[in-house]
């Protein structure tokens, strides 16, 4: 197996269309190690790449798991000589904590809508210089998502929507016979028949928010009495969970879990291999979100970062992203390039009656000390 073939398998693994076991079988662990060692120097070697201005040879990208089409990255590196060093996080809170502590060396990162005003307030991100992003066309971005990226009373744009999606849960229908349709079902089944077979996110916003929905409260509630009820529910549910994790594709694929709190794209990715996967949006409501491209203040590789953002905002590249990860686009030009099957996919584009009750996460959920404390308490319980 040559390097390219190895990388192809590796990307499949990364996207989740290849199980870890298959990956190890195909590549062979020892052989994989040898190949990695052989290609390690070339990962940072820019001498062979074509010269295109002074972009440098590196870019530090901080993002979420299973959230990019690696083909796009490869093409970018080929075109510019900039190698993308990707770090994956589990929650916005962690990203914020790292940036608050300083010295991250990150260039581009992918914060979710509800965090942007806090980043701006703390001076951790930069207003984008739109003249350096000719691919970006504000008019083609759906207003409700673009608005969620904007900071009230500030004319600058700090973040550009990357993808949007919803937070629901996936169900393996071959294992779960009941028809599930609400967050009440989700938590009741977890504490009942499917004890030990459920995962929830390791993420305060969604895990607390969806527990609040169980009682019919707002996803964004910071009311102490309502939060107390959500906390009790989460602590009661905890012994019945298989895991608290934001990387829930492995337990679902391994058959360890049948039900998992999930984001749009993960469900699409799993469904490619496990057709019995169904996506449920709680009838009580829940979260609609959009993630953004943003530039860290004093990014060490700023030129490369702008080149990268401009490249990713190209509708063709953006459409390829969606083909890879299954998260819908905000840019209408990119959506137009998707296949009809995708445009009509009910996981990506849920029915309007399910979308209507959904809420965007509110900035206060990030900063409210009670919510942050609650989640750490639940996990340490």
């Amino acid at each position: 197996m040559d390097r390219n073939e190895f990388m192809k398998h590796y990307r499949q693994l990364d996207k989740g269309s290849l199980s870890r076991r298959d990956f190890l079988r195909i590549t062979g662990i020892g052989f994989a190690a040898a190949v990695l060692a052989a290609c390690a120097p070339s990962l940072t070697d820019s001498s062979s790449a074509p010269a295109s201005g002074n972009l440098g040879d590196r870019l530090e990208l901080t993002t979420w798991p299973n959230y990019h089409n690696m083909k796009n990255f490869e093409a970018f590196t080929k075109k510019t000589g900039v190698n993308i060093n990707m770090t994956v996080f589990g929650s916005n809170e962690e990203m914020l904590a790292k940036l608050q502590a300083g010295g991250t060396g990150w260039d581009v990162f992918v914060p979710t809508n509800y965090t942007i005003s806090t980043y701006v307030k703390l001076g951790l991100i930069e207003a984008l210089d739109l003249s350096r992003l000719p691919s970006f066309d504000q008019a083609s971005f759906e207003a409700r998502f673009l608005d969620a990226s904007k900071v009230k009373g500030d004319s600058n744009l700090y973040a550009i929507p990357k993808n949007w999606g919803t937070t629901g849960y996936m169900v393996r229908t071959s294992k779960v016979s009941e028809k599930m349709s609400s967050w009440k079902d989700f938590f009741d089944m977890t504490m009942g028949k499917y004890s030990g077979k459920t995962t929830i996110h390791d993420y305060q916003l969604t895990s607390i928010g969806n527990a609040l929905k169980y009682f019919g409260y707002s996803f964004n509630s910071i009311d102490t009495a309502e939060l107390a009820k959500a906390e009790k529910l989460l602590i009661d549910v905890k012994p019945h969970l298989f895991a608290i994790t934001s990387d829930y594709q492995p337990p679902i694929r391994n058959g360890d879990a049948y039900i998992a709190m999930a984001w749009t794209g993960d469900v699409l990715q799993v469904k490619r291999d496990l057709p019995d996967t169904e996506y449920v949006l709680g009838s009580e409501g829940g979260e609609i979100w959009e993630d953004n491209w943003a530039l860290v203040k004093d990014a060490p590789h700023k030129d490369a970062a702008y080149a990268f953002l401009n490249y990713m905002l190209d509708p063709k590249v953006a459409a390829e992203e969606t083909n890879g990860h299954g998260y819908p686009q905000v840019d209408a030009r990119a959506t137009a390039l998707l296949s009809d099957a995708m445009k009509n996919d009910s996981i990506m584009y849920p029915a309007q009656k399910l979308l209507t009750p959904l809420e965007f996460g509110a900035a206060v959920c990030l900063t409210d000390p009670n919510r942050a404390e609650l989640w750490a308490r639940v996990k340490s319980a």
Partner: protein
């Protein structure tokens, strides 16, 4: 006058090399141990800033909240103890065999077998267990043999203990091996000559004389386990928390640095107590055997 300069020269000659020799270690400890510890101590009396992080204050609030984190402390102490005892039970016979029974050739092969897995990264070795313990691993094999169905191994205390033993066994084996190998075989013969049976010889001769290795091995394992993060994170499924995991959450998820600092101080305090007990135990054992394998 002449006398004075030679005296000064002499003293420079003595303190300069000492200072130079100690400088790197002193700076290391100053900047990477003392200074961070002072920062953590100061933070632990502070308050959480509105957006998270640290805000200057002087309050005992964080320490008063410590009881809300009792579960991770209990988990850590309980599973670290269980892990240490399991390591002893497995490592002692192994070390005994290596030290007393194995031929020179077998010994070198066995020692290599213990060490070689540690050439692979800790993270990868532990992650491998995720696959082995997941329902497509050992539980699937047992189910196909019809022994037990729907067995859940991953994300249980068992998985964590297994991960601990797997990763920490050599730290227990080698101090035990050293103390057992230096055991004077004539004492065993004397014991036999005096009519003691094998069991009595073991408990009266072998075990006391290998106690220093046992205590050192236990401390090596236990101290490191108290700060363990990775094994519970990977094999506990985010459900079974050690203090290390609670700390990571307090700093990265809640962004409550003062409370995190207070938890860290509490962990330090517990460690100081445990190490004091260790020092007391080893000083009681005293003598030669202590110097051979003691940590301090």
């Amino acid at each position: 006058m002449v006398n004075n300069t030679t005296h000064r020269k002499k003293s420079i000659r003595t303190w300069l090399p000492t200072a130079l020799l100690l400088a790197p270690a002193s700076l290391w400890y100053l900047f990477l141990l003392i200074a961070p510890l002072v920062i953590v101590a100061v933070f632990s009396f502070g308050a959480r800033a509105p957006e998270g992080g640290y805000a200057p204050a002087f309050t005992l609030e964080q320490y008063l909240k410590l009881p809300t984190r009792s579960t991770p402390f209990v988990n850590t102490l309980w599973l670290a103890s269980l892990g240490t005892v399991s390591c002893i039970l497995i490592a002692y016979p192994l070390a005994y065999y290596l030290a007393t029974r194995a031929s020179a050739k077998a010994k070198s092969i066995l020692v290599a077998l213990i060490i070689v897995p540690f050439w692979t990264s800790f993270l990868i070795r532990t992650y491998a267990w995720v696959t082995i313990l997941s329902s497509r691993g050992i539980p699937a094999i047992l189910a196909s043999l019809g022994i037990v169905h729907d067995l859940v191994l991953l994300n249980t205390p068992f998985a964590i203990t297994l991960g601990i033993v797997y990763n920490y066994l050599p730290l227990m084996t080698f101090p035990l091996y050293v103390s057992l190998e230096r055991l004077d075989k004539r004492l065993l013969e004397a014991s036999k000559d005096l009519g003691a049976n094998r069991l009595a010889t073991f408990f009266q001769i072998t075990l006391p004389l290998s106690a220093s290795g046992l205590i050192t091995g236990s401390m090596l394992v236990f101290i490191l386990l108290m700060g363990e993060y990775l094994i519970p994170a990977l094999l506990g499924g985010g459900k079974i928390f050690f203090v290390g995991n609670a700390l990571v959450d307090l700093f990265l998820q809640s962004r409550n640095w003062p409370f995190g600092s207070a938890v860290a101080m509490a962990l330090n305090f517990i460690m100081i107590i445990i190490i004091s007990v260790y020092l007391w135990l080893t000083s009681r054992l005293g003598g030669e055997s202590r110097e051979e394998v003691s940590l301090f």
